[in-house]
């Protein structure tokens, strides 16, 4: 039996395993500030890779980055009652702008520095960006406005879980304004597709892209779309959303333009976002009982070289050999960027370092000892194939030149393997044969139930509420209407009425 690097397995306790990966892979830790985490270098390095690759795609589709204030005056939220009802309640409120000593060595908010109007730490920037759009947009010539912001946002959470639900998190939020509904709808779907292709191609996260049902819409949105990824415990994680807002926000914020005919019209707006939550998804899709496995495209270091030193004179030769290897690797490009190879010279035992990098999920770990140098070889571990069939660590000795020649291909192969494994798991765990509610209920018995795609009649209002309630009793939600689902034929499993479309039902984070 394999002795794995973590002391808890996915099978035994998925939630504890998730925390163990975060801790053992040095991704993040509790900060001492309620609901806020410290994102450590390896975790932040993955976020930087996500940022860089997603930002490239956001810019390639014509968007420009801006920065808007972290504070939003309370009155801005009052303009849109619906918006406020939806989620704008649990927020951090700034009420004072000065601290003073209380005379006993303690600091307190200065009563004489109370703000006339409290400020809210942004939970999202729709309101303040909408105000800017109203200033910027006068004529059809000013449209479309296509902007994006990378920022921290705060939503006060009572029960937090690192990366998945924290009071402060990092994200990008895109906001656009258009002259026509058709163009705004096209934008909404374009960005949904950017998220889908980014998640699949870069994070190796297979997802289902589709429209959310009415009850899951962003407050104020006409239509909300999501990408949903399947975690290894069978639950769904919403990993990105794109909203068509119609003229609802333009109305509240007075975003009007003169059209070509000289008439005043409301702009059509959209918004879309992806956050550090994606890292939670990456962990729960690609992690295993030895820790994290990071897809090479988003790995801060793709190849880590560990010299096996023994405080002997030959150490210098080993380090020199490793440096040469690092330089040889750095000449190559993979996924359109130079290979990122690290030489780990920290003062620690080679085995400790090896297992540290395994737990962090570096795609390729290369160990170099005296014997390797003598033979012109290196010892290679591929993180996606850690053990041989006999349960031993699969570390293979290959000539250095061969490793250098094959490294980029190996990285591509690891990226592909992680995607394929996740894709197969997701495909194998979506049932499409459920045709009545009892069967649905039965499908979600057991510990790793997966998802179920069923017919429904797209109920609205009270009828929809009833469906939502029935699902809620089973801890289920409607994730979305997969864009690539088959045409619905037959009856709705909830209402019995003729089916209109097929929906994904799942437990979710």
């Amino acid at each position: 039996m394999i002795k794995h690097a973590l002391n808890v397995t996915r099978e035994a306790d998925f939630a504890a395993w998730y925390q163990a990966v975060i801790s053992e892979a040095d991704l993040a830790e509790e900060s001492g500030v309620r609901g806020c985490m410290v994102i450590r270098p390896w975790g932040y390095g993955i976020w930087e890779r996500i940022q860089r690759l997603l930002d490239d795609r956001i810019k390639a589709t014509g968007h420009e980055n801006c920065y808007f204030p972290v504070f939003i005056p309370l009155s801005y939220f009052e303009k849109e009652a619906e918006h406020v009802e939806g989620f704008a309640k649990e927020m951090a409120v700034v009420t004072h702008h000065r601290l003073i000593s209380d005379g006993n060595g303690r600091l307190v908010p200065d009563p004489s520095a109370k703000l006339e109007e409290p400020l809210v730490v942004r939970p999202t920037s729709e309101t303040v960006i909408g105000m800017a759009f109203a200033r910027w947009v006068q004529s059809w010539r000013d449209l479309p406005v296509l902007i994006n912001q990378w920022a921290n946002v705060v939503r006060w959470e009572m029960r937090t879980r690192m990366f998945l639900r924290t009071s402060e998190f990092l994200w990008q939020e895109g906001h656009t304004a258009h002259a026509s509904e058709a163009e705004a709808r096209e934008e909404t779907l374009k960005m949904l597709e950017v998220y889908r292709s980014f998640a699949e191609e870069c994070v190796a996260l297979p997802v289902v892209a589709g429209e959310k049902p009415e009850n899951e819409r962003f407050p104020g949105a006409v239509a909300t779309y999501s990408i949903e990824a399947m975690m290894q415990d069978g639950k769904a994680l919403q990993a990105g959303t794109s909203h068509f807002l119609g003229t609802n926000f333009a109305q509240a914020q007075n975003i009007r333009f003169q059209n070509a005919a000289g008439e005043l019209e409301l702009a059509q707006t959209t918004s879309w976002g992806m956050s550090t939550r994606m890292i939670g998804g990456l962990i729960m899709v690609h992690g295993d009982d030895d820790g994290l496995r990071v897809p090479p495209r988003v790995a801060p270091w793709q190849v880590v070289i560990v010299p096996m030193l023994r405080d002997q004179p030959e150490d210098a030769e080993i380090v020199a050999y490793c440096k040469t290897l690092q330089q040889e690797l750095a000449v190559f490009s993979v996924f359109g960027e130079p290979v990122r190879a690290l030489l780990d010279q920290r003062p620690a035992k080679a085995a400790t370092k090896r297992w540290g990098w395994v737990k962090k999920g570096a795609p390729i770990v290369i160990e170099v000892g005296g014997r390797d140098v003598a033979g012109g070889n290196v010892s290679v571990i591929r993180r996606d194939r850690l053990y041989r069939e006999d349960g031993k660590l699969d570390s293979s000795v290959v000539p250095r030149g061969q490793l250098v020649d094959e490294a980029t291909q190996m990285l591509e192969s690891i990226q592909q393997a992680l995607y394929s494994q996740a894709r197969e798991r997701m495909d194998a765990n979506i049932r499409r044969d459920v045709t009545d509610f009892a069967a649905l209920e039965k499908a979600f018995e057991g510990s790793k139930p997966g998802w179920v795609e069923v017919n429904w009649s797209k109920p609205t209002g009270a009828e929809l509420d009833k469906v939502v309630e029935r699902l809620k009793a089973l801890k289920l939600t409607v994730r979305n209407v997969p864009g690539d689902a088959a045409v619905a034929e037959g009856a709705c499993i909830f209402t019995g009425a003729p089916a209109v479309e097929r929906i994904l039902v799942a437990r979710a984070y």
Copy 2:
């Protein structure tokens, strides 16, 4: 006489000119939120370039990026009285975590959601990062810890000026811990040098790097160093600082390690930062009466191609010609990166677009009309040489192939020209012949006095206070002790005692 693009000149009103550049170049605008600005795409694009280039240098010197919470519990500030005295008073204080309706359609902080301990929106992250260091550092093997954070910070300001002094600003803050004082001092100077070379090579901003006098030290620091740039009105702008903190912060935050001999020691720490203030410096050093001039290395677009369209059938041919030109330029690299060329197809008049890009300070603007296409030419404007000697706009017609061949060289030449102009201006405006206080006073008469480098005896305590007071009466401050200043010979102009070093005295932002 030249009719310039802005309606106010540097000569007539420098402060108004500064605001005009920010507005006309679409860099930033008032947000409606007190003290906070909206950074618009062109301004944010410059910040992104600064981030990318500085981040590369921060990483190349061995630092890793992390992310720490935006909120800091109030009690953290109480641990270091000195720290609190210095600057930690004007801060945004979060006291509630929920809004509720007051029943009259207004939102108010929910009295039942008052925080037990108020949270401060980070003004800097020394305390919260120090707490993490205390967790991370146990042994000498854990040192050095070399980390950096890109983040927004808030210092409540009563009188704000865009980019120079805003309540919220963006910056990077580096924080490191070392086993020895020598190593920490070396780190402090290394990062000062990173700032100097970055400012000069990337932002084309000549600076004077040196140590701050005792009274200008960061609270709690043993030594503070700065880079100082000279604005066109002769004032100094501190554009980056690097602090050696000794064991002061380690003591307050209990950052201890076991050394190789098994004894417990306090770590030696440093911190260093550069902010969006740099953009204010860029404007005041490189701007002219036609708007901003952006050094090519930090220009979001280095070459902007403006097709001159007339709603005629030949328009399509002009656009095709421009697209070819854009593709031809993108093949080339300059400063180690692909040339950034934009084709501006917005629906506006060519002349409006030309002057828009001149005001924004795009390094090269290329106009293409029907005649250019017919002759295989382009019309080129270099932003650093806008007018001919006769006062006419210097737009020269050159063969397209020649422009493509020469574009990278032209960008290098513009980068160099902006630096040289600023360097000459700074060098010409530092006086080194002042040997008594009366002469110093006289040197600062007039509207653009520049800087004065003088001898001083490095007074401390009450004697220093007296010097600071005398300077303050003239609105002057000691900027720093230039690292490359000559050896001081003679008497201190303040105390008459033998001079110890030479200091820079100036008015400052």
